[in-house]
Each structure stands twice: as structure tokens, then as C-alpha cells.
């Protein structure tokens, strides 16, 4: 029964055990729960702060346990003594020392022994025994460590930088602060759970593997601007982080966890990306622009305020035949250009620099390829303060254009010359025609007049010597001469209308018509003609020709009257658009508006099959005996309206009268 009761008569084995316990500083104790006796060995007494002489009773024993730990120790004791347990116990507590020793921690381990009560048959603990060890040093160490760990945790909790700590290879979330929880959109419930389990959205991304690698290799990871796809407001979103995975070591130098510190840089990244994209765009357009500048056949140069060349494109090099690098920094005068070219150019540059206004500059200079012509646009370049910093010049080689222009000019000159000659020829032929017509009419008139004069002399002074038949012959001769005279003078009038340049002015048809009526006054009174006039317009025309036109039309209307009838004539006028014209009415000009003036008569009329024929020279529809005339009048009318860009039409019916319509541009 007393297997653990040490006594003087311990066996050798007991002695060895006792010795080794003492060497290890372990004390042993034994409590008889029935008798309430406590046995402590010397070491144990020492541990509990008793002196060797002290008689230890149950009460005193408890008083040596720190009051704060006492109830806990009692609880453990009580628990160990419960038959429901295996009776084992282990507890750490503090000792109140009677002396001034510093506070001590003891670790007690022991075992309760049970027996069945003889009185009531219940199982009760009757004895408890075990060992005690001074663990003050361990506890202090542990306390320090605990304190520092606590401090560290609070540090993590309080830091504004998102931080979390994983423990073990399974990456259990041990500590996580609010900033980190906010980043990963989780709450504190993830603490104590494997990271992989609470962050399924990271599956397939590199982080779990990375953590594993850090855990296994101990090599920390520093990453910049690393994308992570995270649930953000319920949506998987790519965000960017600078982060650290750093292994944590235990006192033994073994990795037990990893600390992760992350800084979100998504906004900066996005801005950077935008800037990058913009930069690329700018670069792209810069490349495009460069390519344009370098490949255009136009010469592009830039000049500073001192009018020195600061940029020139490839075309400039090609045109000058000198490497641009040798010309940069020079003014035109320093470029070996002829002074009469350099000076005006520099003047133009100065004008742009002074005025801030773009100007055009034209120059040409001799080269091996001949005279080269350039047209330049000089544009001011403004600085940020709005002042003119320099001049951008774009020059175009217009030599070919100039050549073409010269060729064209030459051709125009040639054509003009040809036209001039043709015109002169025409004028000459016109003149000679007029000359001919004049001479013809004059020289024809001359002998005619003689015939008439002499025949009249014969009739007047030798009538008594001539028989009746002789006088009749003379009469016929005289009237033939008269007719021929009329024919010649009409022909002269026709040729004048045809060849003489009309002189156009604003004329009133009304006053022209009045003049015509005055001229025809005698005929009108002789025939008692009735003439009705509508209001007539003013228009652009040759007064003499138009007078001739209406005189001919009116005198025809009076003349071609059915015998013994009074001529009834009506003159109408209306404005008419070209589009309203009868298709058969074809004006010679291209005016859009016309005046249509018609002379209606109720005379003998004519068959419409002759309506074109009657406008031809010397064409007559009636015998000389019926109606006197030469057949020139209507031809003159046609000439006059054609000269005016108009036309004339005739419409008649035998015995019913005729209508002659004149179309003159309004």
C-alpha cells in the first residue's frame, strides 16, 4: 500500500532514485487524505519555503500557495480526486515564501489513489502524491516571451499597414489586423482557420505556393505591384499590392510561421498604367509625326529667336545637298546661300518673330537642276508664356508647278496670240466686207443714179420728141433702176447689221417704238392703219438695230394687207422664262429670262411651210407687182435679234394674218 512512502529503510534502488531526484532538484511529497497528513521531503520543503525543522500540517501547506493561485490549485486537486478522472494532475502555481525570497513558481505533478469506502461502498481518493519542481526560471522566460508576443500582436493589430501572421505549414491565420481584413473583405472569424480555406478566391493564384515556399526555404519574398484577384464588394477585381512574406522563427531557430505585410498600390498602378498608356500614345504619335516630317517632300525647318537653324528634316538635306548637322546653329547668311536669297528670308523670319503672325514667303534660286522655286509658310512658335520662341517653316518645292505655270502661260500666250490673229483676220475680213459692201453699194448706186437722172432728163426735156411708147419704155427703165437702187441700199443695211459690232446700252422699246411710228407716220396715215401698243419694257440692246427691227416688222404689217382693208396691228409684250419657251424657239444666247414682243396683223398671212424661208435674204413670197420689197427686211430682223442673243419666229395663215414674235434677253 505505501509504495511511495520513503523511509530510512529504503532499498538501494530507492536510494538511487532519491539521489537522482535530489540531483535534479525535484522534491517529492505525499498527502494522506484520510489522516490529513502531509509528507514533504527536504527538497520539497525547500521548494515550498519551509525550513527543515518545520512541522508541516495541511493548513500551513495551503497557506504557502499564492492566494491568487490557491483556488485554481484546489480545483485541480479536487478534480484529480474525483473518481471520474484518472487521478492524474499537473499544475503550476506560485509559492508565498515566509522569507524574503523572490516569488517562486512550482510545477507539481501527481497521482491520486482511490479506494472503496467500507462504510458506504463509494469510491473515494485516499491518497495523493507526486513531485514538485522549481520552474520559476521557465515561467519568467515564458512570461517575457508572452509579453513580447502580446506586444507584437498588439503592434500588428494597431499598425495601419495591412498585416497578417500565418502559423504552421498549413498557413493557419493566427493574427490579422483590420486593414488586412478590409483588403481581403473578411472578418475576424478567419482567425484560427487555414488561409487556403478562407480565401478560396486565391486558388490558382501564386500566393499559397509562395507562402509554402517561404515556409520551406526561409527565403523572404518582397514583391512590388503584384496583381491579386480579390473579392471586392462581391466582385472579383484585380488589385495591386506591394507585399512581404517573411518567415518567423521560434527560439530554437525553426520556422513556425510567416508574417505578411501588404500595401495596396492599385490606384497608383492604375494612374501609372494610364500614364504609361498615354506615354505610349504620345510615343506612337511622336513616331508617326517624325515619320511624317522625315518623309514629306516638303522642307521643314525650325529657327530660334536669333534666326539660327535648330531643326531640319531630311528633305532639307536633300534639297541643300549638305548634311543638316553642318548647318544646325547657323543663320541663312552663314549657310553660303546667295545674299539675295538669304537676306529676304531672314527678313521674313524677323517679321514673324516680331509680329507673331504667320506669313508666306516665296523664293527661288539657281541650282544644278535649274532655277528652283519654293513657297514657304512661316509660322510663329509660342512659348508657355505666349512669347514667340522661334519660327516653324514649311517650304514646298513648286518648281514643277512653276514650270507648268510657265508652260501654261506660254500656251495661253500662244493661244491668245492665235486668237488675236484670228480676231484680226476676222476684223479685217469684216472690214473688207464692209468696205466691199460700201464700195459695191456706192459704185453700184453711181451708174444707177446716172441712168435715172438721164432717163428723167429725157422724160422731162424730150417728151415731145418721143412717142408714147418711148416714154413708157423710159418709165420702165427708170423704175427698174429705182428698184435696183433700193435693193443695193437694203443690202448695204443688211451687211452693216451683220458685220458692225452692236453697241449695247439700256434702251426703252417704248421710245424706240415711238420713233418708228414717227418714221412710218406717212404710211400709217395713208393706209389709216390702226396700231395698238402694249406697255413695252426697257432692255439691253443696240438702239439703231432695234429701231431697224421694229421698223421692218411694223412696215411689213402695214404693207402686207388685203387690198382695200385697213391694217389692224397689235403689239404685245410679256416676260417669259427660258424654261417656258417653246422647244422650237432657240435663242442664240444663254439668258434665262426673255421679253417676248409680238407683232400681230390681220393681213394676207402666209403658209406656215414658208415660215423659215421668209427670213432668208432676197426670199419673197409675193410678186413685185403685188407688194414692193427686196426680201431683205426680215433677214435684217433675224440678224438683229441674233446679235442680241435672242431669236424671232413667224406664224401665219393665208388670208388670216401673221404673228412675228421677237425674243430678247430681259
Amino acid at each position: 500500500m505505501n509504495a511511495y512512502q520513503f523511509s530510512e529503510n529504503d532499498s538501494a534502488e530507492h536510494k538511487r532514485l532519491r539521489f537522482s531526484l535530489q540531483a535534479a532538484g525535484i522534491g517529492t511529497w505525499d498527502i494522506d487524505l484520510v489522516q490529513k497528513n502531509i509528507y514533504l521531503d527536504d527538497r520539497c520543503k525547500e521548494l515550498y519555503g519551509f525550513s527543515q525543522e518545520d512541522k508541516i500540517d495541511y493548513e500551513r501547506f495551503w497557506q504557502h500557495i499564492h492566494p491568487q493561485d490557491r483556488s485554481q490549485v484546489q480545483e485541480v486537486f479536487t478534480k484529480a480526486m474525483s473518481p471520474a478522472t484518472d487521478g492524474k494532475y499537473s499544475i503550476e502555481f506560485r509559492i508565498i515564501d515566509s522569507s524574503n525570497r523572490p516569488l517562486h513558481w512550482l510545477h507539481c505533478q501527481g497521482q491520486a489513489y482511490f479506494t472503496r469506502s467500507q462504510a458506504d461502498g463509494q469510491v473515494i481518493a485516499y491518497r495523493i502524491s507526486g513531485i514538485a519542481q522549481d520552474i520559476t526560471e521557465q515561467v519568467t522566460t515564458r512570461q517575457i516571451r508572452w509579453d513580447s508576443e502580446q506586444y507584437f500582436r498588439s503592434l500588428v493589430q494597431d499598425t495601419p499597414v495591412a498585416t497578417m501572421i500565418f502559423r504552421g505549414r498549413s498557413q493557419i491565420v493566427e493574427t490579422v489586423n483590420i486593414p488586412m481584413l478590409q483588403i481581403i473583405s473578411k472578418d475576424a472569424s478567419i482567425i484560427g482557420k487555414p488561409f487556403r480555406e478562407v480565401m478560396p478566391e486565391l486558388e490558382g493564384q501564386e500566393f499559397f505556393d509562395l507562402l509554402e515556399k517561404v515556409y520551406l526555404t526561409g527565403k523572404p519574398v518582397f514583391r512590388h505591384e503584384t496583381p491579386a484577384i480579390l473579392l471586392t464588394d462581391g466582385i472579383l477585381t484585380t488589385r495591386y499590392f506591394d507585399f512581404i512574406y517573411k518567415p518567423l522563427y521560434d527560439p530554437a531557430g525553426e520556422i513556425y510561421g510567416i508574417i505578411n505585410v501588404s500595401v495596396e498600390v492599385t490606384d497608383q498602378m492604375l494612374i501609372r498604367q494610364q500614364i504609361e498608356e498615354k506615354k505610349q500614345l504620345v510615343e506612337k504619335s511622336e513616331i508617326l509625326f517624325r515619320s511624317l516630317v522625315e518623309n514629306t517632300p516638303d522642307v521643314i525647318t525650325r529657327w530660334d529667336r536669333q534666326r539660327r537653324l535648330i531643326f531640319a528634316n531630311k528633305a532639307f538635306e536633300t534639297k541643300t545637298g549638305v548634311a543638316n548637322s553642318t548647318l544646325l546653329g547657323k543663320t541663312n547668311l552663314e549657310m553660303d546661300q546667295p545674299i539675295e536669297i538669304a537676306e529676304p528670308y531672314m527678313k521674313s523670319l524677323q517679321r514673324v518673330l516680331n509680329s507673331g503672325q504667320p506669313i508666306d514667303h516665296y523664293n527661288h534660286f539657281p541650282s544644278v537642276k535649274g532655277n528652283m522655286h519654293y513657297y514657304s509658310r512661316l509660322v510663329p512658335e509660342f512659348g508657355p508664356d505666349g512669347s514667340v520662341q522661334g519660327v516653324l517653316a514649311i517650304a514646298r518645292d513648286i518648281t514643277d508647278l512653276k514650270k507648268m505655270e510657265a508652260i501654261l502661260e506660254e500656251r495661253v500666250q500662244q493661244r491668245t496670240q492665235e486668237l488675236l490673229i484670228a480676231n484680226q483676220d476676222l476684223q479685217r475680213s469684216n472690214d473688207s466686207l464692209q468696205q466691199f459692201a460700201y464700195v459695191a453699194s456706192h459704185d453700184l448706186q453711181e451708174p444707177l443714179r446716172k441712168i435715172q437722172t438721164f432717163s428723167s432728163l429725157l422724160q422731162q426735156q424730150y417728151a415731145d420728141k418721143l412717142e408714147e411708147s418711148g416714154l413708157d419704155l423710159l418709165e420702165r427703165m427708170s423704175s427698174a433702176g429705182e428698184r435696183m437702187s433700193k435693193l443695193v441700199s437694203d443690202l448695204l443695211a443688211y451687211s452693216q447689221v451683220s458685220t458692225r459690232q452692236p453697241s449695247f446700252g439700256i434702251v426703252s422699246l417704248h421710245s424706240i417704238m415711238n420713233n418708228v411710228l414717227t418714221t412710218l407716220e406717212q404710211k400709217i396715215s395713208e393706209t389709216k392703219a390702226q396700231i395698238e401698243l402694249e406697255e413695252l419694257p426697257k432692255l439691253k440692246g443696240d438702239e439703231l438695230q432695234l429701231t431697224q427691227l421694229f421698223q421692218n416688222l411694223l412696215s411689213n404689217a402695214i404693207k402686207y394687207t388685203i387690198s382695200n382693208q385697213i391694217p389692224v396691228i397689235r403689239v404685245t409684250s410679256q416676260r417669259i422664262e427660258r424654261s417656258q419657251l417653246d422647244p422650237q424657239v432657240k435663242p442664240t444666247g444663254n439668258a434665262l429670262h426673255f421679253y417676248q414682243i409680238c407683232v400681230h396683223d390681220q393681213g394676207i398671212g402666209f403658209d406656215n411651210q414658208y415660215k423659215d424661208l421668209i427670213f432668208q435674204v432676197f426670199q419673197r413670197l409675193h410678186g413685185k407687182q403685188e407688194f414692193v420689197g427686196t426680201g431683205v427686211g426680215l433677214s435684217i430682223c433675224k440678224r438683229v435679234v441674233e446679235n442680241h442673243g435672242g431669236t424671232i419666229t413667224a406664224d401665219g395663215m393665208p388670208g388670216q394674218g401673221a404673228i412675228f414674235c421677237v425674243y430678247l434677253p430681259a
Binding site: Y438, H442, R449, K450, Q452, T453, F454, L457, Q460, Q461
Partner: protein, 146 residues
């Protein structure tokens, strides 16, 4: 006839290259009793020679226009250049077969003349023309010369 017996102050000078016209005129002037007062010139140059004489004071000059070498208008232009001659040759009258507008205009604007007549085709009319012209100038005042 009004002045069958009148004495004109000087000769009637007729510058006319056409013999027919000269014939007709001679006939008419004879009928007007003025045949002895007329002097014919076939060319203006002959007339100019005659006019240079200081003693010559013509009553009237009747001049054709169409003539060889120098026409009537050129002839009158030459006369107009000399003020004495110009005064001596007043009145000066053109008569012509053709009476185109331009010719009449030219005659009146480029030279100093006192009339322009178309040669009539009718003998009777022609005689009347001359009768009126001469009668008018008979009653008219003429410039006086030194």
C-alpha cells in the same frame, strides 16, 4: 427763176471727177443762166492750185466726196488747216451719191462745211437742189478777205 440775171460775187467752184455729173451740172447751170460762172476741177489738187491765187474769191465750193487720189474730206481738212484759205472756201458744200451715216457724221465733225447733199436721181429735183443752194447763199453774208 429768181435770179436769172444776177451777178454772183465770184465763181462757182465744182470739184467733181465724174464727167457725167459735170455734164448734168453744166446743163442745169446753163438753164439757171450761170454757165459762165462755173469752174470745174477733176481733182482736189487742181482746185488747191487754183485757190492759192490771191485774187481768187469763189462764191461757193461744191465738192464730191469719192474722188481718186485725195477724197473730198481730206481736201477740206487741208483747207481748214490754213485760216485764210478756210475763210476763202466758205461756203463749202459736199454732194455725194452715197450718204451713209458715218460719212455724214465724219464730214460734219472733222471738217467745217456748210452743207451735205445727196445727188438726186431725178434731173428736176437736182436742178431744184442747186437752185435753192445758190439762192440761199446769194442772200447770205459771206466772210470778207484782205
Amino acid at each position: 427763176m429768181l435770179y436769172t440775171q444776177i451777178n454772183l460775187s465770184g465763181p462757182i467752184l465744182i470739184i467733181e471727177d465724174d464727167e457725167d455729173d459735170q455734164l448734168i451740172l453744166t446743163r442745169i447751170l446753163k438753164e439757171l443762166n450761170l454757165a459762165d460762172k462755173v469752174i470745174y476741177f477733176s481733182t482736189p489738187l487742181e482746185a488747191l492750185d487754183y485757190l492759192q491765187q490771191a485774187t481768187v474769191h469763189p462764191f461757193i465750193l461744191i465738192c464730191d466726196i469719192n474722188m481718186p487720189m485725195i477724197n473730198g474730206i481730206e481736201f477740206k481738212k487741208q483747207i481748214d488747216q490754213d485760216p485764210v484759205l478756210k475763210a476763202k472756201c466758205t461756203p463749202f458744200i459736199f454732194w455725194s451719191t452715197s450718204i451713209s451715216d458715218t460719212l455724214v457724221h465724219q464730214a460734219y465733225t472733222e471738217t467745217t462745211i456748210q452743207g451735205f447733199f445727196q445727188k438726186s436721181c431725178n434731173y428736176k429735183e437736182l436742178k431744184q437742189q442747186l437752185y435753192y443752194i445758190l439762192g440761199y447763199w446769194y442772200y447770205c453774208q459771206h466772210p470778207i478777205f484782205e
